[in-house]
Symmetry: C2
Subunit: 296 residues, 2 copies
């Protein structure tokens, strides 16, 4: 299969769904709706929604009904980017090659646009009209999965430790905490949410969870490597910005070559976790390879 064309097709479907989840930019009060759309349509690759879709497909489910749920993952991812970029946090001026939300709309609207996107995700997830193919019990489990990944035991916790570790010497366990929480938790949840939607059995869910954890880790290693070796136009932010901020990274702890080796090893593990699945899981397999190919 051609993963590039798969990603392109799915991105189009997800973008269309996202457009219907957030309201037109002219909705009152327009500043916050504009800011929400500005960050949501800044050229994201839609990795999390596509992982959810691919996980549901791996089990053989039709995925049209999953789109609002997949979209809510991207709303939450975008909220976290907006808040992480704020001056009091990582203080980033550019994201995906464009001014960050607070540079474009001011800090107050950026905070509120983030809050708006986070709340919007739960509005969408609790809208039975949008989610007719999901039973309420299953939907509650999906909301629990997403809110836990997004909150203090997931992304929020990861961002706290990431910030508090800047410029300090940290051990491997702390780096692991940051990565599994800041990026890993929502990626893992994305795969699990697709699986829950598709009524995965216990063993299927366990295998996909393992896949999600390893793909999240590979994704983070790749991001850290790209921060050093990538071109600004490819990664959309300043090359070397992690290092300048004293952020702890895989290459910082293990060196570049060892980090590359680990990325390959982790992706192999993710693919191995899918052993019990037939070719319907090929998009998941190719997605994992695609992540590591970006850095080799």
């Amino acid at each position: 299969m051609d993963i590039q064309s798969y990603l392109g097709r799915k991105k189009q479907i997800v973008d269309k769904a996202l457009d219907s989840l957030v309201l037109p930019a002219k909705t009152f009060p327009s500043s916050v709706f504009e800011a929400m759309r500005y960050s949501l349509f800044a050229g994201g690759k839609r990795v999390r929604p596509i992982l959810a879709i691919a996980a549901a497909e791996a089990i053989g489910a039709r995925t049209a009904g999953l789109l609002p749920i997949a979209g809510s993952l991207e709303l939450i991812h975008t909220y976290s980017l907006i808040h992480d970029d704020l001056p009091a946090m990582d203080d980033d001026d550019f994201r995906r090659g464009r001014p960050t939300c607070h540079r474009a709309y001011g800090e107050a609207i950026a905070i509120l646009a983030g809050d708006g996107l986070l709340n919007r995700a739960f509005e969408v997830l609790s809208d039975p009209g949008r989610l007719k193919s999901v039973t309420p019990t299953r939907l509650i489990a999906i909301i629990k999965e997403i809110s836990t990944a997004s909150g203090v035991f997931g992304m929020v916790g990861g961002q706290v430790v990431d910030m508090e570790s800047e410029g300090k010497d940290i051990d491997v366990a702390t780096l692991e905490y940051i990565h599994t929480h800041k990026t890993g938790a929502l990626i893992r949840a994305s795969v699990r949410v697709g699986a829950l939607y598709a009524k995965a059995g216990k063993r299927q869910l366990r295998a996909l969870t393992r896949y999600g954890e390893l793909v999240g880790l590979a994704f983070q290693i790749a991001d850290d490597i790209l921060d050093i070796t990538g071109k600004q136009e490819v990664i959309g932010k300043d090359v070397g910005s992690d290092i300048r901020k004293g952020k702890k990274t895989f290459p910082g702890l293990y060196g570049l070559e060892e980090s590359r080796r680990r990325a390959v090893e982790v992706v192999d593990g993710a693919i191995l976790a899918l052993n019990g699945f037939d070719k319907k899981a090929d998009p998941l397999r190719e997605l994992a390879k695609y992540i590591v190919n970006r850095v080799n």
Copy 2:
């Protein structure tokens, strides 16, 4: 009935529930858990949880099973206070007589404590283990009610317009938008959530919704009046801070006497809305009177 003692009893029950909803301050990473608890236990009156409980009681429901839901309303209220106080927003140094969250823990942790509380509310609301007495369908309706009141069509929208109106001449419609969204939406939702939990019939829900809207309005008028006439130790923030910031208020638009008259009128309307209820709705009636008595 003695409303003061009712409020005291209920506050104790709610505080105990809240203590079990947010984790111990020493949970890792402790800074954000400390900050969440700092703002959550800063002496709030628990108006929203108590309104939810009183609404459920008015219908005759037992309310022990409602406590996690009532508590989540306070988590969301506290998140909104933390974010509204930030330097980029209302830039308040004191809240309830203590330094605001960002003054005590720094801006980054305050943003994340707010995010943490908001996410935590939805973690609690999607935890079937905590909510055994609520059917999944009803729980989805409750999550929809709360997320909508909290998001861009509720509190977030209200805060956007409030900020954008500072120092400007605004019309009555804009003031009404700010109040119905910034404060009114979550108060209305609190009453409705109690009603939904208690399996209110259509007419009961309609009456309680009307009550919630009017009580929210009375609450806002009273707050505006107290900003002018209150003592700092009573209201816990600087007297006259709304006026200094160029915030639009009821007394600013209508004068103090007319605002007092309106508060009484609105409370009378709220009590009238409860005409179809028996004495089990007395706490709701007394709550409405209590709000307006604070300013007379």
